[in-house]
Symmetry: D2
Subunit: 335 residues, 4 copies
């Protein structure tokens, strides 16, 4: 049994992780931390949660675990990662701290110097389907952001193929409200969200933009720029990204689709939809799947891509990564 | 007092029209029709509706009204329009029948020959802010579709300006469920829509596409093609269109914004948002307004545009048109 | 024109009041206050609100108004009422401060001594249909709570009639989330409310209980006790109270209904539903109406009663009261 | 492995059953039927469903299964039950056909003569916690209705105890919309349900009333009458029943609670909430649990009881019953 510790178990991502690990046949939760609810159990926060005791992060017994999951605010995550790595504990980070390879970019977008820039080079960017070869035995894994997962998975076959892609790529993304976290704010007040639909930080201003473009450049060195428009949906969970990729000349779906099939046909968590079917939240909520639909309109490919932001976009992909790191069945705990 | 008849009063658009006309100081509802509820009153369909008697369409006293509003299925609307025009009654059509100028295009998208092609040339396309000069005294007005209204209003200042627009224009639109009508269907069942978000007929396959492109070409003869992606939102009402317009060279917001200001600053129903503010459903639901926000991202202008699909996207704009046709205060009944 | 000031204009009740007064033909808003947004306009808080300037409460020009509406926290309301009355300004209070006639009861339920107990005797409890005779010329009106309005209106004909009612009356009430106010809290976070339904403070523990029982005793000196169970609904607005009244012997609907008809048949804001029709939120949202349905089951009368908590349950009834106080048309601004 | 057949797999209950049986370690789905989708797979109906082939009911290979689950309309279920029993197949019925012991009562409430009255006496009413002793080896099990489950489970310890219960018992119940089935209807149209909350068939007119009273009389021969008021909630799933039980004299919670503890403390699917905590949908959705909270108000006990209507109220309890019938772990597949 793999012994796992969870830092920050009371956020939505932390609780989702607890639910997944509880049914994981090869993992045992050794501890769970919470700065606000230490001394209580997770059932004090979520009425269906188990009586899992919560301790302060600084009291976590790092010498008793094989792996820690960090569901912490950025910067705090990096500091905890350093401690855990010093104890030889594998770190699966769910924060943004180890996603960007460049410390200056991090500083520019996250408003503080990176707490552990020396770790960036070795951290594996855990978009599992892309990083599968780098994951076995990795000591530090950065779980991708929710929006980046929904956008990079479908862009990967396109950008790595010799397709005549031109101009900015546009990702119009819509996310459920759990993506905004558990802290009550004016913007997540029921009355504000219900019956509403609103864009935010559109264009090139959301923190996930540099992360997505970094991945796009891994796929294709001269990838075009991204225009990224997140919107807030009046639902609990799920992200749908509608992605527009322009070709400089006519390209048929019969040319495009095989790149997806070759790359993803055997992936357990990629659901390639047949021609004419579009991805929707109903395809993916409460699952670790990414559903992908392809539609051609003139010389523009419209890709619909859906994930559950708390599962494939966070806790599910984190466990998927852990499974590969430890060499166990990749789907364990996830289906 | 203008005497008005309403054909098809029990649909969502018809009922919205009743609500607006009831508070309109210069209009009196002379009759309302319903094929399914004739013999009952509108209160049998909507619990807050007035006791407005419903009659069969074929029994409507056309000689007693000045204007009729047609909230009928396409084709049926055109047939009723012919009858009404024969009685010298002004027709404000809310169906798709007189929106497209070309009968062949109509036939291709609406699966039947146009019932009255001889009327197409004289029908005024009632995007009010655009058509204001053609409306006074008009006998036949086509109220634009909901999606076209949300997209054409913000595209008008852009396409009529000498801006270096290139490539396809992309409109990623999201609509509340009332746009799908009052008839229960699998796709509008509560369980299907709630907690879901789904695209449909994306790319170049929705019937509103030729209508929007027709308007774009009025604004600019060589307008680029449109990629149009509608999505269904789990809310009652409201449309948000996120529109992407690429420039072939750098253009500042200081250049773009004045075109909007000059065209729309004095419009009572256009709400131009200041820099940094994005349009949302909360800006417009239950009003006849169109809120427009401008964001520049590299060489791409991202326009957010919001309307209430039942008001500015249907019944409200129909009344706005009627006001201009009859030479009364354009905002009467609407604020 | 009646000149009105609004204290606390940025809460949901305050904004609803602004919307009603804006369309009221005989009222002009002279000022609006907000401690948090003073210096800005109401449009900074609500995207569809007018550019109404907000000032600090202590800077309100009381000598320039005929009436003030107090949408303030309890205790703060009473203190402002004293100031306004000193300026001979009529006070329509929407807080709980002047609803209970007994200062000790107030202290017991609101955790502080009443700031102005000498005013309690003369304050009119503005359940308009009940208080209509006391309102003309009143200087201080307490607008009833939202739950009390939904429960007392239907109980009034029952308790004043010689019906054999026997102990306890049960009111199972369900309210939209706007009743919980504009301040973000864990209990009104979108994720908490959406997909959920939860009771709170049930039995005899909610602050509205003594207010409702006070009214019940006005109607019938020996009224039975009330069991009151509020629940939170995942909707914006509306209250439905399902009320159970037991008779000690068989009583027919033909006996019960006339008491309702005699009392309410001509009331503009009471919608008595015919036999077999039950009240629902759809009957009343965005209106000042109270819909009442009657169902007999054995010797138990089940009354369904619906109001919009922000209109008939707050701002609407406040304006209805003001209309009666000033001797103008009772429905002005409200239909 | 137990081989199971599912009749009526495409309804909400049928699909919930498929999801539970798929993860059940001792069950294998042998066939699934659908009259509307025969020839297709379940994935054609639900985007996350498996590629489970659907066949016509009349083609179901009854000789290849140990158990069948009937998710069929009433009457159709009884006819299929007869066939299955003739093949010595155990029948777990989820319809109403075998819940009522009295064929005349069935005929009065379900508008047709019972198709197989000779089976009623031996059918086990599968409120599992109550029927556990009768279930092992049973050939025909009637799964209780959703509302009855939510009401009978908490009434059982009360009615079997020597408590001085008087007068009608009132159950004010609120259900998510999945309870109304998968067929689109005006009453389950998104626009009708969203933002609304409505009672229906209240008092003594809902078909679940005789079923609940039958259970109440099993618990206590002279049980009082029930007043039952169902309401429709704008959520997918979940039932909350707020139940009012009057005592003829003062009884403390310290007297009441032990009856619940003795009966339910060790039940895996009953979640007895501590004093002061009330049941809510959040306690139970997507689980087979029934959460029960107790509140005393004067001489009235207010019981809050929550279940997931599709799980403990249908498919989950059906599987729980099957587990007991076949002598395997009662919680298998359910936690």
């Amino acid at each position: 049994m793999i012994k796992a510790g969870i830092f920050g178990a009371t956020g939505y991502t932390g609780y989702e992780l607890v639910k997944i690990l509880q049914r994981h046949p090869q993992v045992e939760i050794a501890f769970a931390t919470s700065q606000s609810f230490a001394g209580q159990t997770l059932a004090a926060v979520y009425p269906q949660a188990p009586q899992l005791p919560l301790i302060l992060g600084e009291e976590a017994p790092l010498d008793q675990v094989d792996v820690v999951f960090l569901c912490l605010p950025h910067a705090a995550a990096a500091e905890t990662a350093v401690l855990a790595l010093n104890h030889q504990v594998t770190v699966i980070d769910l924060s943004a701290d180890f996603r960007l390879k460049d410390a200056d970019t991090y500083a520019a977008w996250y408003d503080k110097a990176h707490p552990a820039p020396h770790l960036l080079a070795d951290a594996v960017y855990g978009l599992t389907e892309f990083a599968r070869d780098q994951l076995p035995g990795a000591k530090l894994v950065a779980t991708p952001g929710c929006y980046p997962t929904s956008i990079l998975l479908p862009l990967r076959p396109l950008l790595t193929a010799p397709l005549p892609i031109t101009g900015p790529i546009i990702a119009d993304s819509k996310s459920g409200t759990s993506g905004a976290g558990r802290t009550p704010k004016a913007g997540t007040h029921f009355i504000h969200v219900h019956n509403n639909f609103a864009p935010y930080k559109i264009g090139r201003s959301h923190r996930h933009l540099p992360e997505i473009e970094q991945g796009m450049h891994w796929f294709r060195a001269d990838a075009p720029a991204l225009i990224f428009s997140p919107h807030l949906l009046p639902v609990d969970r799920g992200i749908l990204s509608t992605i527009y990729v322009n070709f400089s000349e006519a390209v048929g779906l019969d040319v495009v689709r095989p790149y997806f099939t070759q790359m993803y046909a055997n992936e357990p968590f990629i659901h390639l939809l047949p021609d004419g079917e579009l991805a929707s939240l109903a395809h993916v909520t409460h699952s670790n799947k990414c559903a992908i639909g392809l539609t051609l309109a003139g010389n523009t490919l419209v890709v619909t891509s859906a994930i559950d932001n708390l599962v494939k976009g966070a806790a599910g992909q984190a466990v998927q990564n852990m499974n590969v790191v430890f060499g166990i069945e990749e789907t364990a705990g996830l289906i």
